[in-house]
């Protein structure tokens, strides 16, 4: 009988380490964007649903009135961007956890990134190229300041 040979513990298995700081920034981003999102979303909900006439006030004129103000455009754009990046990053972590085969992983990642890009691009287009007073529209549906603009 002989004792089992002791193996030097130093040579160690390397895990596939890629971009060294990426995960730390992702973690940080999630906390910070989460905080900002809480503020943005609660302001959004209060202004749209609680103040004024509440939910019944929301129509084209209401939205147009808000976006005539650059401040609301910035706030909404920020909310769109952060919500998509925050949610997208969360989905990325879930895919990393649950999709084990390479094929599944790249397929799901592809769909995720594509949908993020599409939503962010479409959303930004709507926010930044929005016209509150389209010509030929029914005047009763438009915000009050359009009368000066269109006449």
């Amino acid at each position: 009988m002989s004792a089992p040979e002791l193996i030097d513990p130093k040579p160690r298995i390397r895990s596939g380490r890629t971009r060294r700081k990426a995960e730390r920034w992702s973690w940080m981003f999630m906390r910070l964007s989460g905080l900002v999102l809480v503020l943005l979303i609660f302001t959004h909900l209060t202004v749209n649903l609680v103040l004024g006439e509440g939910v019944s006030q929301i129509d084209f004129a209401f939205v147009a009135g808000k976006w005539a103000d650059w401040w609301w455009q910035v706030a909404d754009f920020l909310m769109l961007l952060l919500a998509m990046l925050h949610g997208g990053n969360g989905m990325r972590l879930l895919i990393n956890d649950y999709a084990h085969s390479k094929a599944w992983r790249s397929a799901l990642m592809g769909v995720l990134h594509l949908s993020m890009v599409v939503v962010i691009v479409l959303g930004s287009l709507v926010i930044w190229t929005f016209d509150p007073c389209p010509v030929d529209a029914d005047m009763s549906l438009l915000p009050s300041f359009c009368e000066d603009v269109l006449q």
């Binding site: 513990p9 130093k10 160690r12 298995i13 895990s15 596939g16 380490r17 890629t18 060294r20 700081k21 990426a22 995960e23 730390r24 992702s26 973690w27 940080m28 990393n96 956890d97 649950y98 084990h100």
Partner: protein, 255 residues
């Protein structure tokens, strides 16, 4: 003084009761009723005392009822960390869990810890768990010549990592972690506890090597603070707190 014997429970005798153990079993070679590798539940009824632990009940099964039941244990007193198992859906040490604390009126469910491959019955392959531990280099790393006498540190410096020195490597925390169950690459809470013990030790100089390893894709950032590990630890180590301290050191660059 004369002792008056009670008719039902004589003085000094611990009351006994019947308990049912429902054990998750697997035999890699198969039995007459079950195919090789098939997992199934089997029930055993035993007579137990209020002072008996789950480990004693398992012993009774193995010694008197079915010698083929396989489980690990060594010290039987919560020191060696061999007998972590899933008892009534929570990870505990069989030798530190009293039957009477588990509601013996109902069958007691005993399963192997989750997330590690089962070898037989309650025995799992611990190699992936140990591999993660090895990867964080759990040994003192220093520069320069060794001092003539022991390396001194103040009680306050020692206090810094006191909690994580208590780990007995039972794997209760790692096998309770939902991230470890699903993703299969995460180092797991125990490896981070093991790293914490050296990172915050004033005598050690390999902190940044270890922190860099934990900064990895499979490192601390995978932790979602589910607190399962802290709840599971039979040594009462605040595992989630230790993990957060490692995250903080990485974020601030200060130890």
């Amino acid at each position: 003084m004369t002792a008056t014997a009670d008719a039902t429970t004589p003085a000094g005798e611990v009351p006994s009761f019947e308990v049912t153990l429902r054990i998750r079993r697997m035999n890699p070679e198969g039995t007459s009723d079950h195919a090789a590798g098939e997992e199934y539940w089997e029930e055993f009824k035993i007579q137990a005392h209020a002072t008996d632990r789950v480990l004693d009940a398992l012993h009774k099964v193995k010694w008197d009822l079915d010698g083929s039941l396989a489980f690990r244990r060594s010290c039987a007193h919560g020191v060696c960390g061999s007998d972590a198992m899933r008892i009534n859906a929570r990870n505990r040490l069989a030798c530190k869990t009293l039957l009477k604390d588990l509601n013996p009126a109902k069958p007691i469910l005993i399963e192997p810890i989750k997330g590690l491959p089962v070898e037989k019955d309650l025995i799992v392959d611990m190699e992936p768990f140990f591999a993660s531990y090895r990867e964080i280099m759990p040994f003192l790393m220093t520069d320069g010549p060794a001092p003539e006498r022991e390396r001194l540190q103040t009680p306050a410096e020692r206090e810094r990592f006191e909690d994580t020195t208590k780990c007995i490597m039972c794997a209760a925390c790692t096998s309770a972690c939902p991230v470890f169950w699903t993703d299969g690459q995460f180092f797991g809470p125990q490896a981070i506890v093991g790293a914490h013990r050296f990172i915050f030790d004033s005598r050690d100089e390999g902190q940044w090597d270890r922190l860099e390893i934990l900064n990895d894709k499979a490192g601390v950032w995978k932790c979602r603070t589910a607190f399962n590990c802290t709840e599971a630890c039979p040594r009462g180590i605040e595992v989630t707190k230790a993990i957060s301290e490692v995250k903080k050191a990485l974020n601030t660059g200060e130890i």
